[in-house]
Amino acid sequence: MSASVLYDAPGPKARLRNRIYTVIGSLAVLGLIVFAIFRLHDKGQLEPEVWDIFNNAGVRNKIRDGLLSTLKVFALAGVLSLALGLLLSVGRLSDHRAIRWFATGFIELFRAVPLLITIYALWVLILTYQKDLGVIGENASFWALVIGLTVYNGCVQAEVFRAGVNAVPRGQVEAGYALGLRKSQVMITLQMPQAIRAMLPTVISQLVVTLKDTSLGYIITYDELLFAARTMANNIIVNGENPITPVVIVVGAIYIVMCLALSSLATWIERRGSRAKTGIRVAAAAEPAEAPQVLDKPVSPVVPPTADSVTVAEDAASTERAVSTGDASSTEGATSTDGTADGTAPTDGGAAEPPEDTPPPDLKK
């Protein structure tokens, strides 16, 4: 938002300068891309044979199987981590000191230790006691990955839920007790639903992290997407070498698409949630439906954000009508403002990205 406030609506000189920068910048970005492509070509990575491997049914099946096992780990670890997160957050908020301390210690320990360390330790542990563990012992790397992801992300999710529960207004809890609800009823029917709803975008952002972390299975040789693709690339020889570069590029693209899909879900829910909230507020205040939008962007990038731009926006209808019905002399003024609006339009378009879906940074891995 404030990006646009860092510079004025450019005048003729600045517009020229910006255009020069734009050309130079575009050339630089293009040059970078061309250089990368040139190098790839130079090393023979753009030969048709190298990319032809993806037409092979075996290669495709390998990638599909890898993708499916990645998704399997993600689904299981995601569900289990949410369950563990709920349990731990309730434990951490508990009135019993022993439970609270246990949950706090558990969360702090496993949140501070790198996930890879946990997964590796679990893997070695499961391999050591393989005989006694039955089903778990047979798929040591799978279960090490799932349990490791569950424990780490469960701890993070617990902190998210706790933040959500703490954000529920105190009056709600008091009202619940006043109605004669028990402690567990207050938690289950009042606090948790609101906490989950408020924290849903963050929870999903953490699920994106979970999805990304499934690639740690590569290190404990679990047959997920990355490992499957890598072993496959080692077994194929095209033009005398292993086609690692194209395989890594394709796998990276698959990961990026999956993560973007999931995080766009988070953004969508966030926007939906905030819209619902403004809807409620508008209804209570009995204001016209446009009002929240006006309040949302007092910093409209096209108009330099000043006090009068807000007033303009507020009675936009009347002002606009005044301008449009104004005499011929005012049309010139209108076109000139149009000119500046055009000048800033590209900047505006670029700045109008979806709002940052950054998860609160302390939740990041």
């Binding site: 404030s2 860092l6 910048g25 190098r39 990575q45 230790v113 330790a121 890594v248 993560c259």
Partner: protein, 215 residues
């Protein structure tokens, strides 16, 4: 218990390795992150596009994939003959720079609008506004997220150990391959990481208190 005492040199080297890798890639990530954040708020569209593409690319790629790229793609295509340490530094630094960039950008967004407006109205250019007015004030709000980004970086540096860089995960792997009890190794390695992460959060809290102003 004996694992630690018998293999103190290994543990020490791993510990120092983790710290050095974290510091170096943290510095790289800070520099890149500030530059990219500047790109993302600049008036020049291609730079903004570049910044957005950078952040999207590095934030949505698993770090393991980046390590694979650094190990098997970068040496072949761009620069052959990098040491494993440099490659790990590049992968970690680039990955973290995307998060640093987002933290700084949201910090910029929290600086009151009036500040930038005032700077502009006394005739400062974009760079002056950013350098003299907005970024110094953004620093304060950026410090808590940066602290957790660096803690995450410390933890992420464990992946470098799997790619034969000397650090704490490498020690764990080495010793467990030698057949020592994994529980004790895990405990000591975990304590090593706890020391580093607590130090980081302590330092940042100190910094926060130093820079804090009454508002």
């Amino acid at each position: 218990m004996n694992v630690l005492l018998d293999h103190l040199p290994e543990f020490r080297e791993g510990f120092i390795g983790t710290i050095l890798l974290t510091l170096a890639s943290g510095a790289l990530a800070m520099v890149l992150g500030i530059v990219i954040a500047g790109f993302r708020v600049s008036p020049v569209p291609p730079l903004r596009f570049f910044g957005a593409a950078w952040v999207t690319l590095f934030r949505n790629t698993p770090l393991t994939v980046l390590f694979l790229v650094a190990w098997f793609v970068v040496p072949v295509i761009f620069m052959p003959g990098l040491s494993p340490w440099t490659k790990a530094l590049l992968a970690l630094g680039f990955y973290t720079s995307a998060f640093v960039c987002e933290a700084i950008r949201s910090g910029i967004n929290t600086v009151p609008l009036g500040q930038a407006e005032a700077a502009r109205s006394i005739g400062m250019t974009f760079f002056q506004t950013l350098r003299l007015i907005v970024l110094p004030q953004a620093t304060r709000t950026v410090i808590p997220p940066l602290s957790s980004i660096f803690i995450a970086l410390t933890k992420n540096s464990a992946i470098a150990g799997a790619f034969s860089v000397t650090e704490l995960f490498g020690v764990q792997k080495l010793l467990s391959d030698k057949g020592f009890d994994i529980a004790w190794i895990f405990l000591w390695v975990a304590i090593g990481y706890l020391i580093i992460t607590f130090t980081i959060s302590g330092l940042f809290r100190l910094l926060e208190r130093r820079l804090g102003v009454a508002r």
